[in-house]
């Protein structure tokens, strides 16, 4: 057995606190570089704002464009210098509204069923199905909207009433796409409600429906609200479904039976071509993207605020 050499044993003058004084440069360097990686994420946000803002400023400085026209006009025809964002916003609003009307009731009911009614075995089958639905790439949903949902709708409503490209099919499929997001966020909120609340309701003789809608859902309302807001933000930013299925004409309309181009689809279509850098058209895309970014940012912040402000704290 090796014996400890005498000089390795600290002398009597050694105090444990000396250990703290040892300067560890490596440790500091590692912490600093990890901090830099953390800061990098802020840098990404900043550069999004700068890049989009910079190009958008170029766009608004163009003599053909005025801020007033951008926010009030309802025609968007870059070829003749018409830049009225409402032509694109109307389509974004219409498709998102349809999507939300589909996804919120379905997603919430699915969440209530999964968290309040389903047996553990049923959950283990049903939840993966929703996860698969959430994992399907949006371009595949676009294919589905254009080549399955749209033909079916045209059969029902008549081909003379509904074109191949229409906002209805795009919106419906977008709703199916957002459904798993809303249901999984709502379900998390529902299952965070403590068991004792449910048991109290049942002990008063409530039916499962009364317990879930009058006790559990109100208690989880902040989480459900956040889910809905995140769902809206996802619908507004969704690109591929509308790019494939809702048409390529920018038109100011709220009629879901018509074809109209959303903000995202417009960006995708125009930048897909060989657009020369620095033209008004090119810069206009950045102005649209900036609006998209700001809208979704506000929605996301509101959803986080809703969660932290209205959360019911238990225990």
């Amino acid at each position: 057995m090796e014996t400890v050499k005498k000089r390795d044993i600290p002398s009597a003058a050694f105090r444990p606190s000396d250990l703290k004084r040892k300067l560890r440069l490596g440790e500091g360097a590692i912490e600093t570089s990890l901090f830099v990686l953390g800061i990098l994420t802020i840098f990404i946000t900043v550069s999004i704002v700068i890049v989009l803002g910079d190009q958008a400023l170029l766009f608004f400085n163009d003599p053909e464009v005025t801020l007033k026209e951008f926010f009030t006009s309802t025609t968007w025809v870059p070829a003749i210098g018409d830049f009225g964002i409402w032509a694109l916003v109307s389509a974004t609003l219409t498709t998102s509204l349809i999507a939300i009307l589909v996804a919120v009731p379905l997603g919430m009911s699915a969440a209530i069923y999964l968290s309040e009614y389903a047996s553990p075995r049923a959950r283990s089958v049903l939840k993966p199905i929703l996860e698969i639905l959430a994992g399907i790439p949006t371009v595949v949903y676009g294919y589905f909207a254009l080549l399955f949902v749209s033909p079916i709708l045209r059969n029902i409503l008549g081909t003379e009433n509904l074109g191949v490209y229409n906002m209805l099919a795009a919106g419906l499929v977008m709703g199916i796409m957002i459904l798993p997001l809303i249901s999984s966020m709502s379900e998390d909120a529902l299952s965070a409600v403590p068991r004792s609340l449910r048991e109290a309701a049942y002990s008063m003789g409530a039916t499962p429906f009364e317990a879930s809608t009058q006790v559990v859902v109100p208690a989880a309302l902040s989480g459900i609200g956040a889910a809905v807001i995140v769902g809206i933000s996802r619908a507004v930013g969704e690109t591929m479904i509308v790019a494939v299925a809702s048409g390529a004409t920018s038109e100011f309309t709220f009629n879901p039976l018509k074809a109209a181009e959303t903000m995202t689809a417009h960006i995708a279509r125009i930048s897909g071509g060989d657009l020369p850098y620095g033209t008004v058209d090119y810069n206009s895309l950045f102005a649209i993207a900036l609006m998209l970014f700001l809208v979704t940012l506000v929605l996301n912040l509101v959803s986080q605020w809703v969660v932290s402000r209205f959360r019911e704290q238990y225990e």
Partner: protein, 410 residues
Amino acid sequence: MAKYIYPEEKDLQRFVAGRYRKAWVWQTAFLSSLLIAIVSLTALLLNVVDGAFGYVAFEYKEDPATISEKPLQDLSQEELLAILQANLSRGAYNKLNEEKTMERRSQADLYNLVLERILKVDTKKTYSLYDSLFRKAEIETEVKDEFPEASLEFRYWLTPAFLSSPMSSRAEFSGVRTALYGSLWLVAIAIAFALPVGVGAAIYLQEYARKNFINRLIQTNINNLAGVPSIVYGMLGLAIFVRAFEVFTSGAMFGITDTNGRTIMSAGLTMGILVLPLVIINAQEAIKAVPDSIRQAAYGVGATRWQTIWSHVLPNALPGILTGSILAMSRAVGETAPLIIVGASTFISVDPDGPFSKFTALPIQIYQWTARAQPEFHNIAAAAILVLLVLLLTLNATAILLRNRFQRRF
């Protein structure tokens, strides 16, 4: 105070029964919304399969009997080569030879060339799988009436040849090889960027960050970045990687001169930034799941902070981190919008030969082909979707396996 009158037993029972009936109705309604989700998923998958197989009515401009006595499929590589040499003009043959040496092409490849260049196959109409299975007789009479010259064949659009051929202007001969390579390159670059950066940031936030303003800001910011629409990342990539850093992303820095900034490198880095928040959030969850007792044990024997993290926290969090990054990879594989913006090539038949070449990717192909008017392109879009879904399934199955095999419960 009003006196509460307890109802008669009969009324009470009716009342309670009514409430339970209502509860049952709503339970059914809740369940049916789940069923709607399941039906949609099934419809989507069936719709894709429906498009990927089925009858095709086609005509040959030239009669196959004039160039060979045997059926073409049975010919060997040499025989097909001889046919090509005999029937193609000298210039056309040399051009093909330049693209890829003729002798080194496979039998299937040469067979396709014979169909495309000599017989000039012309697809008249394609049928879905459902129609092909259940309305075969009707299809046969329809083809006989409308295209008397045409022959009818059941075609699998998803074949080994589909995986191994490059793009073509004709749907019948198009494949996804170029796109598949492009997608793999993209994901590799994206994860090579996002994994180290993401894990580093996650370690900082979980292990080092004190509760102060700047760290709260970083955390909120990451949550927000996860919600930014992918198309905005595309615009960021266009402005920064494609234009501002063109010297780097076009490879001009390394002596490559034939491309602009619209390369795999630009797209991969854009994708890396897009999945970064996802990687960070997943890695944070994994690190959070490592119990404090492990850290305390390490500190107890005198380890420094970094030693604790490197040899105790990270090894225990690794399965979770890997699972999270595989999920991020599958997000990167399916994402389309940023690639359109960053400038995936719409038509390219050369495989990417490095990070600084032009590219296309699977979802881009699906988008392009779906948007085409000719129905046979919809068929190959369906076949490409099947390839993409299988790829995603493989990735996710790996993630689940990793999680089940290596994740420790404390």
